[in-house]
Each structure stands twice: as structure tokens, then as C-alpha cells.
Amino acid sequence: MVARTKAVAKKEVKQFLRDKRLMFVIFFFPVFLLVIFGYAVNFDVQNIELAVYDEERSDVSREFINSLTSSSYFTLTKTIDTHKEIKQTLDEKDAQVVLVFPNDFSNKFYAAKEPAKVQFLIDGVDGNTAGIIQNYVMAATQAFNQKYQQEVLADFGQGIQLPIDLHPIFWFNPDLQTTKFLIPGLIGLILIVTAVISVSLTLVREKEKGTIEQLNVSSINTIELLMGKSIPYLVISLINAVLILVAGYLLFDVVVKGNYLLLLIATLIFLFSCTSMGIFISVVSDSQQVAFTMAAFASLLPAVILSGFIFPIDSMPFLVQLLTNLTPTKFFIIALRAIILRGVGLQAFWPQLVYLLLFSFVLLGLATVMNKKKMAHR
């Protein structure tokens, strides 16, 4: 049993080492994704372009503008003189936000009988960014109000005590960096794509070249063959995982807070489910081309869209939330975030591992049934 599995594994390694194209895909792809997602995909909103249309040009309005631009969030890019220019500015994307002060702004402000109105026109095309800008603007206004109230009361020799003073502190990712949040998802994405593609291709290649016939008539059984074929790719995937972790540490300061053994176990279980996906695809496809397309489609798309890697699952419609269960990446990412970012133990994510195992066995069962059907019709 061991000898036959070893013979297959040895052969796979030799073939892999000779297949420069596959090697390139498997080792270049992770680096590529890491750079793309690490540097290009960034949800932190900074340097928002701000335009101001100030009908009055009072000292209060200037002070308010200064309070915005003194942070790194806003940059004043344009001063507008006519009402017409507001539309033009947003149309031509000269600014993301236009701040409008009416000509009675300072009067109302000092009279303090009714609130002085300020208008923020936000470019809503990118809803996500617009929401973030809105939050910044509201927080800035609130801070400005509070500071002014305190100054006024101090003039009368009185202090003010806020009923509640809020001090939010972000755990696990104190600076709320997107990359820290993305790295675990990225590991899941890269592993599933490389593992599913390589396992399905190595199996379908035997079918396409006809060498599978020779293996069928030999005394090697299916389990020995599958083990011999997946073990080398399992090792390759693990090497990949380590490479990403090292790159994550060097480039983005992502440190594994939890237990390395747990990380290894979770990764192995995840790779097992990727392997079963690869096996299933190899059963239903007869050429390497079909297998590659199916493997890329079935692994990449759900892993990006449905896994919670970028888009939070909680905010998806119910039916789509059900669909997210189709990708093992979802469960692996939950476990990975728990281990890498939070450093918690097995109790926080064991259901994910159980689900991954279940997923693998269901797929392997399906693959066996379909394979039997196909063999009977050959």
C-alpha cells in the first residue's frame, strides 16, 4: 500500500518539476494576488477631495473648514464662487465632497436661535466610500460643536460635563487596516485555487493521455492512487501557505497570534476539502482544458465573492447567505481570522472544521457515485 502510494507520489513530483508552466502558475499566482490585494485593494478612505462654496466667507466658516482639513482625511482642492459650479465640480469629479455655507451662516451661528445650516454634497457613486465620508463629516461637525459649546460656557465661567464620554478601542486590528483583515482571506483564496486546479489537472491528465487505462488494469487501488497524487500537492500548498504568511509578516506586519499547530491542522483539513473538490471536478471533466476552466471557476469566484473574504456575509440577502455554504473558503477564513488575528483556541472555530470535513466527505461520495456511473457507460 505504502510502496504503491510512494511510487505515484514520486512520479507526480518529477512531473511537477518538469512542468514549468504549472510551477509558474502555482508559485507566481500567490505573489501576484498578495501584491494586488495587499497594495491595491484598500478600503481605508483618506485624503478626501473637498471643495468649498462659501457665500459669506466668515471667520466661523473658515474655522470650520480648517477643522476638517487639519486632519489627514480631507484635502481642500477647490474653492467655488458660483452656485452653478457646484454641479460642474461633482460632474467632473474635481471633488468628492462639496461643502456649502449659506450667506446667513455666521448670523445664525452667533444668534444661536436656530442651528446654522451647512450643506455637504457627497458624490454617492461609490456607496461604500460615500458612507465613510458621511461618518467622517458627521464626527467632525460633532467635535466642532462640542468644542464651541465648551468655549462659550467657559466664557461664562462654567464648565460642562458630558453625560457619556465614549472611548472606542479596536481590538485585534487597532488601526483598522484592511490588509490585516485581508491576509487570512488571501491565504484561503490562494490555497483553494492552487489546490483545486493542480489536483484536478493531475487526475484529468491521466485520462486525457490514456495512461489511466494502464493504472486501472494494475493492482493499484483508487485510494492509493488518490493519496499518491494529492500528497505532493498538499505539501506544495503548505509551502505556499508559509510563503504567504512570511510575505504577510514582512510586507504588512501580519503576525500569527494563535497556535501554529492549530493553524497547521486547520489548513490540512481545508486542503483536504480542496482536494475533494479537485477530485470531483476530475470525475466530471474529460480534458485538461475543461478541468482547468471548471476548477478556476468553482474555486476562484465563490472564494472571492461568497466567502466573506471581502464582502461581509451578514449583509447579504438570506438566499445568498445560504449559497455561501458552497465554498469551503468561508469556513476556513473564519478559522484563520480566529487563529491569526484573534489568537483564540479551538473552542472558537471547531464547528468550521467539522463542516469542512463534512463538505469533503459529501463531495468524495458524489465523485465516487458519478465515477461508477461513468465507468458503466464507457
Binding site: 504503491r4 505515484v8 488494469v217
Partner: protein, 313 residues
């Protein structure tokens, strides 16, 4: 002693019957030719005998084990080589041998000994490191046979092993097959080349899944072709064929190359009769008329025509 015994073996794919209740025996150590046109059911039969395709009904024992009940034991005793020479082109000669040796459970000294043997029969000593891709077809074929029998099976199945290989390589390959048979291995071989079938001890012919003839090459010729055969060389071959087909003293006629081959019945008297028909009645010049010894090809065309006409009626 029989190495393979086949009883009413049948395989259906849906409503299509690929192999239709065939029965025959193969003796230990003989070279057994399994002939038939493309789609006659040869590969399906071989797959069943190798234990990788379950029969719809009937059974066969291969090396003493039932293919229906113990396909895994069958696999331990057989070697198989297909027309596609299932070698890994991206592995070297030695890596291929090591792999198949490993798959058949060989290691250590056994593997080294057999590797030596395979290299010898494939003429690849000293070239172990060459990529299999770069080998010529004839050498690849010998290497494929070597790896298929690396575990010294009692029976080896060769499914059109010589297709696409040049004549000299084919001849060398058959020497190898004889060598295996001399050592006691039963060789079960399918082929398209009827001159190769002459090398077999026994032959069966199947058509549309049914067995239509069996015996040695000599037996088949004497049993199925009782009439004399002549070859006629003449002008306007196509016209001549049409005329000859209508003559009562001729049973069968066909074009072979630029000549016409005919088999004659009891109404035939002498070559003059043919000349009279062609030159006398139709002024077609006859250059040569010769009696010929029938080949297996003649026998099979005769049998297949008879069988197809029979099933058409």
C-alpha cells in the same frame, strides 16, 4: 490447460449490444489472435477480461479467477498494453520503469533485475535518462510492453499494439511476443494487420459483437475457402469486374490493387473460360491469369460478407 475460459460473455451499453454472448478458450502459453473490424467489440471484450469493465451477463475466468466475482485478483495476474502505449512522455525511461514497477509492487533487487530486463528488450541500455517523448515509435512500443509485463504476469493482453509502427519495428515486436510465449506467458492480441494474425497459434474473428469463426490460420483457410482462387490482370478493371460478377462459374470477385481476384465454383473449367468471357465477348484484353493461395484476408472478407449478408436478410 486453459489460461482463459470465456462463457457467453455479453456487454450491453443501453440498448446497444457491444459483445453478444461469445464463448471461447485460450490455452496457456499460446499466442491468441483476436480479430475484427473497428467497433466489432474487441476493446470492450479486452476491458472485461482485464477486470475493468463488468460484463452484463456471462462470465470468464482469467488465470483461474472470475472476472465478474474477483476482478481484483484477475488484475494481479495480467499485464495490459493498449494501442496508446500508456507511458508518461514527460518522464525519463528509467522513471517510467520505476513508476510502473512501483505500481506493481516491485522494489529493491526485484525492481533492479526487471529494470535491467526491460532496458534490454527495449534496446535502451545506457539511455535510461532520455525523455520518453524523444523516443521513436518502435522503441516506445517495446518499452511500453516491457513495463506492462514488468511484474511477470501469466497472461498479457495487447490491444492493437502495432498500430502506427513501421514494418521493421512490427516484425521485431512480434519476435518479442514469441519470446514471451516461449517463456510460458499467454499472449492475447488484437490486430488490424492480417499478416500478423498468421503468427498466432489460434485466431477468432468477431463481427458486430458476435463470434463468427475460430481456429488456426490453416484451419480457417481450409474450412472456409474450399474454392480455387485466381487473380486476373486485365484492362478496364472496373468494367471487367462488373462482367465477371455476373458469370455463373464465379462465386465472389473483388479488386485487389490493379487486379481482380475471383473464387470459382464447380462450373469452372479452365482459364480459357475467363479469357473467352472478357476478350471474346467484351474485347477486354487479358494480360495474366494465375491461381493464387488464399490469405487470411481472403478468408475474412469471405466470412464477413457472408455474415453481414446473413444478418441483413
Amino acid at each position: 490447460m486453459n489460461s482463459i475460459e470465456i462463457n457467453n460473455l455479453t456487454k450491453k451499453f443501453g440498448s446497444f449490444t457491444s459483445v453478444d454472448s461469445i464463448s471461447f478458450n485460450v490455452k496457456q502459453g499460446e499466442i491468441f489472435g483476436f480479430l475484427g473490424a473497428n467497433g466489432a467489440g474487441k476493446t470492450t471484450t479486452i476491458k472485461m477480461l482485464c477486470g475493468i469493465l463488468a460484463p452484463t451477463s456471462g462470465d470468464a475466468t482469467v488465470g483461474g479467477y472470475s472476472i465478474a466475482k474477483e476482478p481484483n485478483k484477475v488484475k494481479l495476474n495480467i499485464g495490459y498494453m493498449s494501442q496508446r502505449f500508456s507511458l508518461y512522455n514527460d518522464l525519463s525511461v528509467e522513471e517510467n520503469i520505476n513508476f510502473f514497477g512501483g505500481v506493481y509492487g516491485l522494489d529493491g533487487k526485484d525492481l533492479e533485475d526487471r529494470k535491467e530486463w526491460v532496458l534490454k528488450i527495449a534496446n535502451l541500455r545506457g539511455k535510461e535518462g532520455l525523455l520518453t517523448e524523444s523516443l521513436p515509435g518502435g522503441i516506445k512500443q517495446r518499452l511500453a510492453l516491457g513495463t506492462a509485463v514488468i511484474h511477470k504476469p501469466k497472461i498479457v493482453f495487447l490491444d492493437e499494439p502495432t498500430s502506427g509502427v513501421d514494418p521493421i519495428s512490427r516484425r521485431n515486436f512480434w519476435d518479442l511476443i514469441h519470446h514471451l510465449a516461449d517463456e510460458g506467458t499467454t499472449v492475447f492480441v488484437t490486430t488490424h494487420y492480417l499478416e500478423e494474425a498468421e503468427f498466432c497459434n489460434n485466431i477468432i474473428l468477431i463481427n458486430a459483437g458476435k463470434l463468427i469463426a475460430e481456429g488456426s490460420s490453416k484451419e480457417l483457410k481450409s474450412k472456409h475457402l474450399k474454392n480455387k482462387m485466381y487473380e486476373v490482370e486485365c484492362e478496364r478493371v472496373v468494367d471487367a469486374l462488373e462482367i465477371l460478377e455476373k458469370q455463373p462459374y464465379i462465386d465472389e470477385s473483388s479488386i485487389f490493387g490493379n487486379n481482380i481476384q475471383i473464387s470459382v465454383n464447380s462450373l469452372y473449367e479452365s482459364t480459357k473460360q475467363i479469357e473467352e468471357t472478357l476478350t471474346g465477348q467484351h474485347s477486354i484484353e487479358v494480360k495474366r491469369i494465375e491461381e493464387i493461395i488464399p490469405t487470411l484476408e481472403n478468408v475474412f472478407i469471405h466470412l464477413l460478407e457472408k455474415h453481414n449478408n446473413g444478418s441483413a436478410n
